[in-house]
Symmetry: C4
Subunit: 308 residues, 4 copies
């Protein structure tokens, strides 16, 4: 593709409806879904895979904006103090292993939490340094923070992370190259499918697995409150349950993956954790549902595709 | 009307409550609903017409803003990769032909998709070049893009488009003249009725059919998420189903038209496509429901009015 | 009150937490609820009064912003072309007289509509000239527009209006003086009670009746859509019905007034008018419910207080 | 901590992802949850404590912005004129004592209301001067307003306040020091737990009780309407009931505290107060539920911890 540089040298005077075909083709093909990695059957012949994940943002989503409000920080502390123990108890009761994506600053503020989760068999994955927006960083800063974050998680949890979820799913123009350089097994920030796929970079197969997310399967689109804007938790938990159950039911019918993103300080409230408990019971009521960490799902998909 | 030029030479110092009557009359009459084209009965004596449409925006609603986020573009790819096959399977199962409005850039990115839809008897209609906002374009650029978009769709799908849905329903001061110059059969972007009508231009009958839309019958008002604003998918699918069913039930009671606008990357999720499936079953449970493309509805209405 | 002028000469350097007591007292007492005008029983011994109102904004809420979008104007035309006939038929079927608040520009665009409503016994009230925001007008402009609006309504409908609902309930610092100068019977824009009361101006009784409104009893807070902002019709009609019924049920229990504000182009859609129909049936299922125009309610309240 | 000053002298050129560890640790530890004060059992062996609170903002949330709109002020008057009597009657019917947090300006505008509440055994707590945002005040202004507000409340109600709820839960960098200087028993503005805890200041135990709040248990996140923004009351009362009941049910199961924040002019509408009535009946249907004021809860927790 001779026009590959074009996207990096935009003509500021050119509006999108004036763009030449090369321009929008280059932009579109930069990071793209390649072949499906949905297996014919899941582990031990299971019909459906369920990957529960928790982004342990805690205080970091306040700190990343340079905010110092004691009230907002106390909301973050709730995630660690109240929500994580409740979530651990719920997962333990159902013998489920999940994936926790943890900013490095959060891991340093709450090291026992990460060690405890790792000891119980949960996965600890990369989630940035201080929940920064990758799209706003200089490329070498993004690379430096991602490498350092992996080291911090390894040091604290005893696990070397093999996967990343970009903070706020803000996958920059450079994220893929950094993750490939790190040799990560998977990313979990993109949305081109419900089921796993191989990521392409500028049309080239990367061998890296995407475990796709979507806002629809994220508690943080329905429940947050921000006093300074008009963001409000308008949706009843029973309606969020309806959506999550509908997504699982479809995945079960399709023999696919149901991947759910949650946040301890959001889902951990008494009236909300009840819907996760109910959802787990609903899913456990089906035969052939494999509960797995993101790492296990990615490894299984690669193996099923003959490359594990 | 001697005051016709007035609207084009606004006095910047004049506030609307200071406007002379000529001014607001001219603005109001520029594009207006004329006689109703609701027939006494629909095809083969059917009681009600149902026109399902899908605006295949895919990557274009990211590109039109000049955005290059891999995450947002992957959401668009979902529309083509996952949602369109699901929608085609659902329509095929129910033997329904629908209308797909496709920006030219999307048609070029996904030509097989358009050819496949056309081959299965679905209609391909104009939906701008790159989902641009018509209201922000120089008039000759709007004209040029609309003509070129029609050529691209014809070349790729093998069908010459006969109808337009303006991107974001942004019907400019010049859209009607351009569509008339192209000799289009119908527009589907205006909202003065639930049932088809003839469009008037400055009080003059145009012979062009309007197949009216409304936000209330559009999945994109209830479900989208935008991280940078407070747009959230707050409404449960069951509530959206309630609205859509209420609109159909009213159309059935009135012997009118039920026209629904959807977007593959929005409605195509597992938990949402289920409500379209349920709605189709609800509608098929009624006698005398004619499922038709927009083109078929417009042609039928003109014929019933003695001008087909 | 020696501090009365204070509110009109604010010290720009003084923040509200620095205000002297005189300042906030003057502001608070400018327009205020006085004695309750809730009668011991309603007409003919009825237990509860129901006053349905429709603000016929049609094209005016587009024009007032100086907008000329054919799409937005077609939404307004829907109000006159489709919604008003449906509403008239519904009210006629139930033999209910309601109040329509109509901007003068709307009355001039749709004079037959106003005449027809008046002929059927409905009330036509003042609703500004072009749905302007009173709070942004020079005081003499507000006065001029309100007087001219009343003349237009009288000329077109044959009724001299006796009440006002300020557009967007934007009751300015001057609205009360203007309405008193016009000798109006009532205002319906304030919110200090559910039941009628006498308005005080700077602590002095005015003899003018307030028929209070509230956003909670207004279809326009739940259903509108604005593409340029994040305003969306997120609430299901069944939930809006729940709210309206709850307000009526409470009014019935209290022997009070249930006053509902609607907008033809909003409530008139098939799936929404159904909830008004259902609500009317619910209310008619109770004994002792008096359906009345705003004028009738205000006159009754004054008479019951011995001043009619 | 040698880095304690760092947070107060931010380097404006340093972005959060560039911060040294000292910086984010200092910010995080400034005000923090310490040991839990959740007792083994509640008063007289009760299983669960319920603390209902009403923030009597009335006109103050209009005045604090320097707004003078008669319409908005009438909404505030509704709180005093209509809502407070309804709430008092409801609490009286169920023999429940609650806590009312009252800005000083509101207390001066409605002194009889505060006296009446105090006489009936309800608690009157600090809620700022004119509902100002503490985070925007000079520290000495915040201190002056808080001290003067306590004096006003004592003078009017006859009670010396022992607790504070910061207006808009805007707990500033200085609020804790001011409240400690005043010798307050408790704060109720932070969110690090569902159950009571001791507040730490820079790692040091303060002896002050936090009775934590959360947006999830606040009527003001679901119901308000602001014409100038996109804030709307999108959530049905039955959905808000679902959330509140879920929070109570969880607190009952955990043997914890259910603390609910309401606002008279918001919850006091007929269709909304019905959900509070229903919630009280639901809670009274359980054995071992102790209804108490915030003061009683804080005193009990301290006593149970051996420090009362």
């Amino acid at each position: 593709m001779t026009y590959a540089d074009n996207a990096d040298t935009p003509d500021a005077d050119e509006l999108p409806w004036q763009w030449r075909e090369q321009r929008w083709r280059t932009i579109t093909e930069k990071v793209r879904a390649g072949r499906s990695l949905k297996p014919k059957a899941w582990k031990d012949g299971a019909r459906c895979a369920v990957a529960l994940s928790f982004d342990s943002d805690h205080e970091s989503t306040t700190l990343r904006f340079g905010q110092t409000s004691p009230g907002k920080l106390s909301q973050g502390q709730y995630g660690s103090r109240v929500a994580i123990p409740r979530i651990r108890a719920l997962l333990d009761r159902h013998d489920i292993r999940a994936s926790f994506f943890v900013p490095a600053v959060v891991a340093k503020l709450h090291p026992e939490e990460q060690r405890g989760l790792a000891d119980e068999g949960h996965e600890i994955g990369i989630h940035g340094w201080i929940h920064e927006f990758n799209g706003t960083l200089p490329p070498d800063a993004e690379r430096d923070l991602q490498f350092r974050a992996a080291d911090v998680l390894e040091e604290i949890s005893g696990q070397r992370p093999v996967g990343i979820r970009t903070p706020s799913w803000d996958f920059s123009q450079h994220t893929l190259a950094i993750s490939r350089e790190m040799g990560l097994l998977y990313d979990s920030s993109l949305m081109a499918d419900d089921d796993p796929y191989e990521i392409l970079e500028a049309g080239e197969a990367t061998g890296m697995v995407e475990l796709p997310v979507e806002w629809i399967k994220d508690d943080a689109v329905y429940f947050p409150m921000d006093r300074g804007t008009t963001l409000r938790p308008y949706t009843a938990p029973s309606s969020v349950y309806e959506i999550f159950q509908g997504e699982f039911d479809g995945a079960y019918a399709d023999g696919g993956l149901f991947l759910l993103t949650m946040h301890p300080h959001i889902i951990g409230h008494r009236s909300r954790l009840a819907i996760l408990a109910r959802l787990i019971e609903h899913m456990k009521g089906h035969e052939g549902v494999w509960f797995a960490t993101h790492k296990e799902v990615a490894e299984y998909c690669l193996a099923a595709a003959g490359e594990g």
